[in-house]
């Protein structure tokens, strides 16, 4: 393995300080993604800054009624946290639909946001890939692209963001809190991940040296009417081909508020406010749901193997909306 330095940080300031000025340093939390990437020579950090001792392991209620999840809270602890399970079941479901119990025990909230794509070509250092080696080309476009993006892709990259948790966070309109050399700031979830454009090597809008400290959830958790639907190639331990996170607030049989995000279709969790607007103020109805599905894929483009995702999104959206209206996933 590549030689790298190692620093164990005791608090946020120390971690940020250690990262400052060294663009090739990387934070390490659970290591479930980064260590693999290092073994495959996809990541070659000059220094690992171990953040696992940082005091970011709390789940706290916020004065505005929201909930704050520390960046180091494990995926399992988030999913099974009583406040999350009761108030934000969408988030619990999404997390539990991902990876395996062992991985979820290790994986951190911050690391989950920053996990990298599962594009086959990205993972094989012998091959070209614009995301891994900018300018080397994108073999997926004309190659095998069954798992790739149908929305928001560019000619430079058609990779998808693999996280389940993030799809729920997008639907819940979370906020990401970060601290960097220039101080602390909050990033709206929709702004956190980016589309590939001509810089697919950048997955997020995080600035060099910035550390994720927490994710904050707003008060509304859509607990009564939410669902996470994950469509995948096997029944566990597989990334989503397409996933749908839905949260609805129902008042007297009418959709008062709607949130919908898609996973497995784009370089970021895909949330389209115009699709949500179609639902607002309406009574639930399959024709309406089909129209929402249609609307979501209006600009979708397949690359061959992934064409099926367009039809799959239409159907999965209808199913997810039906489930959310009914109060949650079917047994």
């Amino acid at each position: 393995m590549n030689r790298f330095g190692y620093t164990r940080a005791g608090d946020v300031a120390e971690a940020v300080h250690a990262a400052a000025g060294d663009d090739a340093a990387q934070f390490i939390a659970g290591g479930t993604n980064l260590v693999d990437l290092m073994k495959e020579r996809i990541a070659a950090p000059s220094r690992l800054i171990d953040i696992t001792r940082l005091p970011l392991r709390a789940v706290k209620s916020l004065p505005d009624g929201g909930l704050e999840i520390g960046a180091l809270v494990s995926n399992s602890d988030v999913a099974y946290h009583p406040e999350v399970a009761s108030r934000y079941p969408l988030l619990s479901q999404a997390i539990l639909a991902g990876a395996s119990p062992q991985l979820r025990n290790m994986a951190s909230t911050g690391g989950n946001l920053l996990q990298r794509t599962r594009c086959y070509y990205f993972y094989d250092a012998a091959l070209p890939c614009n995301k891994r080696a900018p300018g080397s080309g994108c073999p997926a476009r004309d190659g095998v692209n069954r798992i790739h993006a149908i929305l928001g892709a560019s000619e430079h990259c058609i990779a998808v963001h693999p996280s389940d948790m993030c799809v729920a966070l997008a639907a819940l309109a979370a906020t990401v809190h970060v601290t960097g050399p220039a101080g602390a700031r909050a990033i709206e979830f929709a702004e956190f991940h980016r589309l590939p454009g001509d810089a697919p090597e950048r997955d997020t809008t995080l600035q060099p040296g910035e550390l994720v400290t927490a994710v904050a959830l707003p008060r509304e958790g859509f607990a009564a009417h939410s669902t996470y639907l994950k469509v995948r190639d096997r029944h566990s331990y597989a990334f989503a081909l397409v996933s749908v996170a839905v949260g609805l607030r129902m008042v007297d049989g009418t959709i008062a508020e709607a949130r919908l995000a898609l996973g497995g279709v784009a370089h970021k969790p895909w949330r389209d406010p115009t699709a949500e607007a179609l639902l607002r103020g309406q009574r639930p109805d399959d024709a309406l749901f089909a129209a929402v599905g249609e609307h979501l894929v209006r600009d979708a483009r397949g690359c061959g193997h992934n064409d099926f995702k367009i039809a799959l999104v239409r159907r999965a959206v209808v199913r997810a909306l039906q489930q959310a209206v009914a109060g949650g996933p079917r047994a």
Binding site: R3, K39, A126, L127, G143, V144, D233, R234, S236, R319
Partner: protein, 739 residues
Amino acid sequence: MTTHVGERVSRVDGRAKVTGKARYAAEHAAPDLVHGFVIGSAVARGTITRIDASQALALPGVLQVFTHENAPRLARGDKRWRDELAPPGSPFRPLQDAEIRWSGQPIALVVADSLELARHAASLVRVEVAPAPHETDLEAHRERAYKPPPHERPSVTPPSRGSADKAFARAPVRVQAEYRVPVEHHNPMEPFATTVVVDEDGTLTVYDKTQGVQNVQSYLTTIFGAEAGEIRVLAPFVGGAFGSGLRPQYQVVLAVLAARQLQRSVRVALTRQQMFTIGHRPTTWQRLSLAATRDGALAAAIHEAVAETSRFEDYSETVVDWTGLMYRCDNVRFAHEVVALDLFTPMDMRAPGAMWGVYALECAMDELAVALAVDPLELRLINYAEHDGNEKRPYSSKELRACYHQAAERFGWSQRDPEPRSMRDGDLLVGWGMATGAWESTQRKASARAVLTADGRLAVASATEDIGTGTYTAMTQIAADALGLPLERVTFKLGDSALASAPVEGGSFTVASVGSAVDAVCRELRSKLLKLAQQLEGSPLARLRPEDVEFIGGLLRARADPSRALTFAEVLHRAGIDHLADEVTTRPSKAHEKYSRYTHSAAFAEVKVDPELGTIRVTRVVTAIAGGRVINPKTAESQVIGSVVWGIGAALQEHSVIDHALGRFITHNLADYHVPVHADVPDIEVILVEERDEIVNALGAKGLGEIGVVAVAPAIANAVWHATGKRIRELPITLDKLL
């Protein structure tokens, strides 16, 4: 009398395995061990023009970078490189020339003090290649297909019979369909690895992951021009292999090469990604043409197949034969061809040939049943083969009818509504499908040695393997019963090239072959012991006929009078010897030539399909197996349950995807190459049907390692059709194909 054969004996090596005492190839320690990391080619075809290892060699702790430029020239000539299972052709020789033949081919070995350093140094080696155009797409090159030269006897396609094409054209009911199956990789849990220990006298002890220690030993001895005593190969535990360990893999050559050059103990282990650069189950195209009379009797069957092989070896397997064997039909035509591609040579993988051939046949039979409007099981019974139509001879035994009846009844098949999309569970579509399986039962020449010591313990040994199949346990049971000993007094040793000869552990023939030898050598000891006992002065057993003496609990005892007894230990002690030993070699009996010997199975599967999302869940599998005498129902059931899980994987998930532009497998890790996880595996019910067979071997055991897998994928594919009305003729059946 207590017997162990036929009992649910737990694995005798189970404790060692779960406590970590069982060591696998990469777990053996040696003083001053160094580590090799393999560099694989990034392109599928070309010539290496330059390798610059200077940066790697400059790192302290890097000992050497072996390439074709500095590696010693090993044996010349194809013949020397041919291992026991090599197909016709010119076997690959690692680091012997500059040519690249497939993507991932090993082109250098970096040896360093630690694995991490070797792996890092490997990333610093610069390789320049003049690439050449490659071809990896079977479909695109089917016109290049040719008939492969014969390999082992079973891979010679049997002659066609009758006039199949005419009969097909004339028949009132016909189906013709093409079926496609992908490349699969074995992916045993334990990756290929070798630890070579250089002993003080210069001899090499090679711990290798293999299904044949003697195959590897003779291969290494030949290619390195070594003396037979110079290299000993050990594989006491193997973490699964499924056929991938039948031939020596390249890492064993590289490890031995490095150890000999450096005179240091060396370990080379492949990464999971590199497990996709070795042999695999070949992608295969098939066309089935079946015709029947209106009452369902097969009038014609044509089975055509085109499979891949490499450019340098003609691998072929028995794909089409099954169509002439499994059903009664007078007009049968076979065609089996291969296309040479720029991929590594395919390898036997659990039920090679049958896996794909029977899949296509059994799906076509299902299609024919639909065309005839007859129940799929009924169609099989109408065409039941009472004898082997290919070889024109009877079966040594065939309890397939019992398999059908028992499994169908347990499954509840009679409740099936034949109409597709007719059965539902809430919103889910329910489908029921069935299929037949067959696999050959063979016995090979094998030897075993047994030693009975004065403490009344029996040690038996043979150079076979236990690849997770339960060989240790089965052999211990057989040996214990032959001498009437409790299991604790018997040990069985395997996985050492210095032991009595045995064939590779494969083809489901280990119990039949090695088990026969173990049984025979223990019976030999039994007679010797009796003779000794009767010669003792004042022997209580004097003048008794052998059948009047029983061997029980370490005693020889007169059946008529239990007070007339001697312990084994007493006999040896009083005879003044400290042990009794013998070695016996057994071979298939002459009767083999007069009979066809097969195991059979029937599988019934239930699937539930989401009609909108296309997701498929296998909810129930019942399978019945007729495999002769069952030595150990517990390990036998484990084999069959594992086989069913394999079948689910083959039907719905497994697929080594090739990017043809790059000529490379790209789903080369276990996140992208899916096999079933627990959530995909339903209740599996295994019925071991009683079957007596006095022809196959003295034990009457036919072998159960592969038969369980054969019928499962077609049963599931047929169930998916029944659920959805869609015939997906390409495996794996993923949800996108159902949308």
